[in-house]
């Protein structure tokens, strides 16, 4: 009898969850944020339904402020996998030109991400959405179930969650309800990196350390990814060797100084890390329990 490694066990669990959703849901979708978790989730989905492509589309809720290399990888992966890629941008946000600089991170996240996601789910009538959230990322994500039920208004009630004993998932939905499904819930950041290394999964190059133009904003290193980034009078970005542990909208994502430019070096760095990857996200520091409040309102 062969014993599965911990990564193989996590992989098997995630594949089982994905197959369960496809069997039970009417119209599932995979939310694709182009980060490392999304890359692993996409790889698992392809593996779960091979040799045919996964029986659901990919959906990217775009804010127009992602890193340029994320857009490049997103389009390349959609072409490679042969899956439909749905890109949704909140038209109201575009009309009002909502951006992280003039409107602040809270409004930008609410309008472009939370409202954008709700609009997209309603527009296409998706009743189950896969997401790459993990429990080790943030405390409110730690208490969320793998199958997270949302009301017709996409609200999450953390005090009303279904038990998932012995990995048995109750997928029955009330009318209008939808499910957010997190197949990577039990993975850690280190597991993700080890799996990427083991399976040679394509990820955005921003995860690897390289010299990049950055400016300091409230102690965070923000990369100057395009000319839209407003600089202070006389400010000159510095070229520093940085990498990203997490990727979001570039004005709201802090880089870390690092020398890790290969996967083994990143894994080595992970082994010594004592902080969450979400420390680099400006949106998580808006207020106490910021993520939980956002999640209750419909954020992923």
């Amino acid at each position: 009898m062969t014993t599965l490694t911990h990564l193989q066990k996590l992989e098997a669990e995630s594949i089982q969850i994905m197959r369960e959703v496809v069997a039970e849901a009417d119209n599932p979708v995979m939310l694709y944020s182009v980060g490392k978790d999304s890359a692993v989730m996409l790889h698992l989905a392809r593996k779960a339904f091979a040799p045919s492509p996964p029986p659901f589309p990919l959906m990217h809720v775009d804010t127009r402020w992602k890193f340029q290399s994320m857009y490049e990888l997103r389009d390349r992966m959609a072409e490679e996998t042969g899956m439909d890629l749905l890109v949704h941008i909140n038209p109201e946000g575009v009309e009002k030109d909502i951006n992280p600089f003039t409107h602040g991170s809270a409004i930008h996240t609410d309008v472009m991400k939370t409202e954008g996601l709700k609009q997209a789910l309603d527009k296409y009538g998706f009743d189950a959405a896969f997401g790459g959230a993990r429990r080790d990322e943030e405390k409110s994500r730690a208490k969320e179930r793998i199958f997270s039920f949302r009301t017709a208004q996409h609200r999450w009630d953390p005090k009303n969650q279904r038990p998932e004993l012995w990995k048995l998932y109750n997928t029955r939905k009330h009318k209008g309800e939808s499910i957010r499904v997190f197949p990577l819930s039990n993975w850690t950041e280190l597991d993700i990196w080890q799996y990427i290394y083991l399976h040679n999964i394509s990820i955005v190059p921003l995860y690897f350390a390289a010299e990049r133009p950055v400016v300091e904003r409230d102690g965070a290193l923000i990369m100057v990814d395009d000319e839209r980034m407003p600089l202070e009078p006389g400010e000159v970005p510095m070229m520093r060797k940085v990498r990203f542990r997490t990727l979001g909208c570039y004005p709201l994502t802090g880089a870390i100084e690092s020398e890790a430019d290969t996967l083994p070096a990143i894994i080595q760095e992970m082994l010594l890390a004592r902080t969450s990857e979400r420390q680099g996200r400006v949106i998580d520091q808006d207020s106490n329990a910021s993520m939980e409040k956002k999640k209750q309102e419909g954020y992923f």
Partner: protein, 249 residues
């Protein structure tokens, strides 16, 4: 003494030199002195400086140096502080006499400020983007500067972490001149366009001080993204004497 003992044992001058790490004339002189006056006549001199006799920078010196490094040198013909200018300024403005440039260089090293120049000329034969950058931009820039009687510099900006609990980290603007001589300025905040422009102006002034009004300055710079600064790009257009070549990332 060891050299004489070796000679007594029949070793040649060359062998005695090798074992005692003394020069041949010293060994010969010691042997001659021994033959003439015995062991008492052999000159024995202590080697090197005595332990503890070197310049030691105390906290007063250290604070004075930190203060100086955060300001531009008073002489506009000096692009930034070098160890010699710091030693003079320390004596003149801070009344801290007797501090040698070498002691200051050791202090730099201890605080992580002793940056070494990148081997840019070593890229000449490299078949890479960096090699192409050197051949297409740096080499012609350096050649033009030398031809005009100007100067070639290498420099950059970097963050230096605090070496003790008291001081915050600093942003070090550094330059390497002829034979790798280190010049620097340490700022408490990231340098802004005006800081870079002041540095460039000082470099041009220093090159022209030797009486060459058309002298060019070629500067290879690492660590700043000048393309994003309209002020610096504008200044460079208005001052063609400065050939700025940002290091490729």
């Amino acid at each position: 003494m060891l050299a004489v003992r070796l000679r007594l044992n029949g070793h040649t001058v060359a062998e005695a030199c090798q074992h005692s790490a003394l020069s041949a004339p010293t060994v010969s002189a010691a042997w001659k002195a021994f033959l003439e006056g015995g062991w008492q006549a052999v000159p024995v001199k202590p080697r090197g400086r005595r332990r503890g006799s070197g310049d030691v920078l105390n906290s007063v010196h250290s604070e004075a140096l930190c203060r100086l490094l955060m300001t531009w040198p008073s002489s506009e013909l000096l692009p930034a502080w070098n160890s010699r200018a710091l030693a003079v300024a320390l004596a003149e403005t801070e009344n801290q006499t007797g501090m040698s440039p070498r002691a200051i260089e050791h202090w730099w090293k201890a605080r992580g400020l002793g940056v070494k120049p990148a081997d840019v000329r070593g890229l000449a034969r490299k078949r890479s983007n960096a090699g192409r950058w050197f051949r297409q931009q740096v080499k012609p820039g350096f050649d033009a500067a030398v031809k005009s009687g100007g100067k070639c510099w290498q420099g950059g900006v970097r963050v230096v972490a605090a070496t003790d609990g008291r001081d915050a980290r600093c942003y070090q603007l550094y330059l390497h001149g002829k034979r790798g001589a280190l010049h620097m300025l340490c700022l408490p905040t990231p340098p802004v366009a005006n800081d870079y422009i002041t540095l460039f102006e000082r470099l041009v002034a220093e090159a022209r001080a030797a009486g060459q009004p058309e002298a060019l300055v070629a500067l290879v710079f690492h660590g700043a993204f000048f393309q994003a600064s309209p002020e610096i790009m504008q200044w460079l257009v208005e001052h063609p004497a400065m050939r700025l070549m940002p290091f490729p990332s």
